[in-house]
């Protein structure tokens, strides 16, 4: 396992170097994504200021929500960006080269690409969480909770990505299907947490675990709710294990193809 992780770190380093070779594109991606996210937060904050507090959610909570979601999205898409390309790899047949690799298949695919724009998400996420911490006068316990919940949120993002991309093995040219499925998970991670109540809250916690990526971590940090913390952690672990199972089952259905491709 140590060899696998050490190779994964090395592969990430090489991917960053490879992306950085195309300097302009690399920098534009990072700056572009940070600006994009900032515009998004301005819209939400103005919305909350006009409408007022909804189900206990304030403008500061929205900043926290975007902090968790952006940071975990950014981490997943920087260290495991390749998983998002599984549908392309499968439909073009370039998945073959991962199958002949001596490393863990999922780690090898995950580290096959690096998304420069994900750095923009990480920077934005960290800034948002910093601002949120300041606005809520964060305590030591809340800081510990926040750090732990960033890990949980990242785990659930990764699980959702792996689970969705496992569908790549079931359909021919599954790119559109997997994109739509991931959007189904991603879009609610950025929504106002107060808008999910009753059945929608249940569905988007257990069946589509979007709330675990942002809204529930904010509520746990704000309310210091250990009960919710346990539920969120268990659901994230279950989703992660389930996604690994789905991926392994999907690989067994891989049929390769002979489209011509070039490069990584």
């Amino acid at each position: 396992m140590i060899k696998e992780l050490s190779f994964a770190l090395y592969a990430i380093k090489k991917n960053i170097q490879s992306s950085a070779e195309l300097r302009t594109s690399f920098l534009m991606n990072i700056v572009g994504m940070t600006i994009n996210n900032t515009a998004f937060i301005i819209i939400w904050v103005f919305f909350v200021k006009s409408v007022g507090v909804i189900h206990g959610w304030t403008a500061a909570d929205i900043i926290g929500l975007l902090g968790f979601s952006s940071l975990s999205y950014g981490v997943v898409h920087s260290i495991a960006s390749g998983i998002g390309l599984t549908a392309e790899y499968v439909s073009s047949g370039s998945f073959d080269r991962f199958m002949v690799s001596p490393k863990n298949l999922l780690i090898r695919i995950a580290t096959s690409r690096f998304s420069a724009s994900a750095i923009g998400d990480i920077v934005f996420g960290l800034v948002c969480l910093g601002v949120y911490s300041f606005l809520i006068h964060i305590s030591i316990v809340q800081i510990i909770l926040m750090v732990f919940l960033v890990v949980v949120s990242t785990m659930v993002f990764l699980a959702a990505l792996i689970a969705v991309m496992s569908a790549s093995f079931l359909f021919t040219d599954a790119h559109a299907v997997t994109s739509s499925l991931f959007e189904l998970f991603l879009t609610p991670t950025l929504f106002h947490g107060g808008s999910f109540q009753g059945a929608t809250r249940f569905i988007f916690t257990f069946f589509i675990p979007s709330l675990i990526a942002g809204a529930l971590p904010v509520e746990i940090v704000r309310d210091v709710s250990l009960e919710k913390l346990v539920i969120v952690s268990v659901v994230a672990i279950v989703w992660f294990l389930l996604s690994l199972k789905l991926f392994t089952a999907g690989v067994k259905k891989y049929e390769s193809s002979n489209l011509m491709t070039f490069g990584n």
Binding site: K14, P102, N258, G263, N264
Partner: protein
Amino acid sequence: MDQDSIVVSSLSKSFSFPIKNPSVGWIKNLFNPEIKEITAVDDISFSVKSGERVAFIGPNGAGKSTTIKMLTGILFPTSGEIRVLGLDPSNDRKKLAYKIGTVFGQRSQLLPNLPLTDSLEFFGVMYDLSDREIRHRIKELSELFDLGSFIDQPVRKLSLGQRMRAEVVVSLIHKPKIIFLDEPTIGLDVVAKKSFRDLLLKINKEENTTIFLTSHDVGDIESLCERTIVINHGTLVKDLPTQELARTFVKEKNIDITPNTTFSVFPELPEGLKYAVKSKDKITVIIDISKIGVQEALRKLLDVFMVDDINVYDTDLETIIRNIYESNPAR
């Protein structure tokens, strides 16, 4: 050369896919389509000795790539058994990867934006080689494959010939016992092809690497492989030494005649002989050796033509292979 590197027993692979039935509506075709199953590889068995150079050939869609993908662990067989270096590729995929190298002519394994050295180092690390081993192996392969002039260039700036050489070097970085090559010379010019084949022969000789190659290029088969396995419609058609391929399947010989007279109407030829080329300066006649012997054919031709020069030669390997393919029509 005594140990078996590859043992394949009763190997089959089927694929199924939906097909459109024009006699029913699009809704039925969308939600309940007919499923067609094709058998890409049908009950094949063969073995390859350590250090052998084997061409695995067949027309398009014969099952070559499917077989090579099962041998390397990319595809799971429907039935049958495979042992590559004593391992089952389906269950021991990672272990096997440490012992084999693969080159797929249609795709690259290299890191396109970085210098070639980075790709070599990357694969060295992937195969758990130490820094010292990686440096030593890069130096060794760089000299052997003459990479010096372009090893520091980004991969996307390499010519196709340079890139293919680099692909082979990457696949040899961990000293594999077998190298599988699927259409490795596709798109290369004649000079690059020759240099590529020479390098593979060298690596086979110096490191006793088993070579298992699929190619449509007869030159690859003739100059590189001592044994040829022919597959068509998923079944093994022939398995014999490449030299014997010509001897066993030569049904025709060619005779080039330089006539010293000109013809306005070319004379009829006896049974077993037919014209391939009819021109003022050169006549080529094909002898069907199942119907007429070479000596008899020459005698009859010399009765008909006054000649300045005559040349008898075998049918080329490409024609022989085409004949084998055509003698096994679709089932």
